[in-house]
């Protein structure tokens, strides 16, 4: 039983088909990358799964439940957490408060209008644990807006982790990082996904990052899936060579 199933998922913007009948399965415990050239529809695919953009056609099923048509907050409440291609944080709050507020979203009494010592205690523990897993403990008390770009990218992952998601969507986690920062971030992320306890769907431009982290790859081209398989199968695929890998080399 796949954890995430996309069936004929389609999104049209006017006359442009951004995502074209994408059918894809993500098994529990799998780390899958979605790759493709610019404008292939990778980010739109994420926005469709998380309900940020409404679907034109097709369906998203998560753990045998249809997500299509649900709002972003209810999809997140079902255990799907994501990061954004363009860093989205609470810049005036500390890194710790960012992670804590993310954890609070999954707490039963997240709306409690007075007191809340217990809620703050629980969620701060979960947030701090997520910061530690991404090596951000030393910057926990700094405002998120003042962190380095690399730490901001990792903080967004920490916020998603603090929600203890069943499916984690990472949208270009190394976007805009220097070579050293990328290497560091990839090591941290590899450590996170190595135990196979987490299901991750990853959009990434950097092929080295993809081959280091993902065990399965889906290739998108002009919104449609042109290849799907293990990294070796995808590398050997002629169509992929033409559309993407060859284009870069």
């Amino acid at each position: 039983m796949a954890l995430l199933e996309l069936d004929g998922l389609t999104r049209r913007f006017g006359g442009i088909i951004a995502v074209d009948r994408v059918t894809m399965r993500v098994e529990a415990g799998e780390v899958r990358a979605v790759i493709g050239p610019n404008g292939a529809g990778k980010s739109t695919l994420f926005n469709l799964i998380t309900g940020v953009v409404p679907t034109s056609d097709g369906s998203v099923r998560f753990d045998d439940e249809t997500l299509t048509g649900l709002s972003p907050y209810s999809i997140c409440q079902r255990g799907v957490s994501r990061t954004f291609q363009i860093t989205a944080l609470f810049p005036e709050m500390t890194a710790r408060e960012n992670a804590r507020l993310a954890a609070q979203a999954r707490h039963a009494r997240r709306w409690q209008p007075c007191g809340g010592g217990a809620v703050f205690g629980d969620t701060e523990r979960r947030g701090d644990a997520a910061l530690e897993r991404l090596g951000l403990t030393h910057v926990a008390s700094r405002p998120a807006g003042l962190l380095s770009h690399g730490d901001q990218r990792l903080l967004e992952v920490a916020m998603a982790l603090a929600q203890q998601p069943r499916l984690l969507l990472l949208d270009e986690p190394t976007q805009g990082l220097s070579v050293e920062e990328t290497a560091q971030a990839v090591e941290t992320l590899a450590g996170l996904v190595s135990d196979g306890a987490m299901t991750v769907l990853l959009v990434e431009h950097d092929m080295e990052v993809v081959f280091r982290l993902a065990r399965m790859i889906t290739v998108l081209h002009r919104g449609a899936v042109i290849a799907d398989g293990t990294p070796d199968e995808v590398k050997a695929d002629a169509e992929v060579q033409l559309a993407y890998l060859g284009g870069l080399a």
């Binding site: 998380t50 609470f90 005036e92 609070q104 209008p113 809340g116």
Partner: protein, 325 residues
């Protein structure tokens, strides 16, 4: 706990004020506390959630007309009529907020303005309830229950206002420091992110508007028996703009700041109007200076001067105001 100690000290001073101040000053002080309560209620929206309302006078007017009618046409005692009016204002706000939160940013602000102006127009036509352009006059401070007449006098009414303000301040402080308040700050800083983290941001916004309207309605409900009348000016957009100025000049996002801002507004407009008819022009200049050079407001300046630490209001907030929400 230094905040609570400070509030207790100021509360003691205010409680002793009637012993030392002449009756005229006591009337001004009572009105300042009512306006302070009104400004603080708007701070929940503007300072903590970045929901810029151009129609907060609607809350005040709703409270004033409700308590005015209750006191004029029923025998409900003052101390019950005031909280009932606040609740009515809060309940109406749920419907208002449901509509206004369909939009965000500047469209939200325009919808709040439109709604308040709609109420203003209704108040002008609905003579049997609002007295139209004459307003409601002779609103009594009905005694009771159990024959208690303390709150009907000027002194007792002052203590009633003071108790409402202190209670509302402690309530708001607990609210903004709660998990609910943390979500409001999330909406203030990045609403889209708050939504994708799994918070139904619209419900939070509707809730905070309802609470702000209930407290703003409480202020209006106190004003009607204070002044003895209620008229359409209480619903007019000019008043919505003035209370927004009180919040920003006092220091948005601090609760205490807007109370001081309201007192400052009353004091300065009284001084200026005794000197020139164009007092609003000069107050406008003061407002512009604050926005440009002290966006953290009077309270922020005071915090920096006394403790050397920047206040929670932060610097440069208004310059970085993001209209697109």
């Amino acid at each position: 706990m230094s905040f609570l100690r400070g509030v207790a000290a100021v509360a003691c001073l205010l409680a002793l004020a009637p012993a030392g101040l002449p009756p005229y000053a006591m009337t001004l002080l009572t009105e300042a506390l009512i306006l302070g309560l009104f400004a603080m209620s708007l701070d929940l929206m503007v300072g903590y959630t970045r929901l810029l309302s151009f129609g907060h006078a609607a809350a005040y007017g709703l409270g004033a007309y409700t308590s005015g009618n209750l006191l004029l046409h029923t025998t409900i005692p003052l101390v019950f009529a005031v909280p009932i009016a606040a609740v009515v204002s809060g309940i109406v706000a749920i419907g208002v907020a449901w509509v206004c939160t369909l939009a965000s940013g500047v469209s939200f602000s325009m919808l709040t303005l439109a709604f308040a102006q709609l109420l203003y127009a209704v108040a002008f036509k609905w003579t049997s309830v609002t007295g139209a352009s004459d307003g409601l006059a002779g609103i009594p401070r009905s005694p009771g229950p159990f024959g208690i007449t303390f709150f009907t006098g000027k002194l007792g009414f002052y203590y009633l206002v003071l108790a409402c303000l202190l209670g509302a301040l402690l309530f708001c402080r607990a609210l903004v420091r709660s998990p609910f308040g943390a979500v409001l700050r999330g909406i203030r800083e990045n609403e889209a992110k708050t939504l994708t983290l799994g918070y139904n941001t619209r419900h939070y916004k509707i809730a905070v508007v309802a609470i702000a309207f209930a407290l703003g309605g409480l202020a209006g409900a106190l004003y009607a028996p204070f002044a003895g009348f209620a008229n359409t000016e209480l619903l007019f957009w000019l008043f919505s703009g003035q209370v927004l100025i009180m919040v920003i000049v006092g220091g948005a996002g601090t609760l205490v700041g807007p109370i001081i801002g309201a007192a400052f507004f009353m004091l300065v407009s009284n001084l200026l109007s005794s000197w020139t008819d164009s007092w609003a022009l000069f107050f406008g200049l003061i407002f512009i200076l604050f926005v440009l050079f002290a966006p953290q407001g009077i309270w922020g300046l005071a915090m920096r001067a006394f403790s050397g630490a920047p206040s929670a209001a932060g610097r440069g907030r208004w310059r970085s105001l993001n209209w697109t929400g």
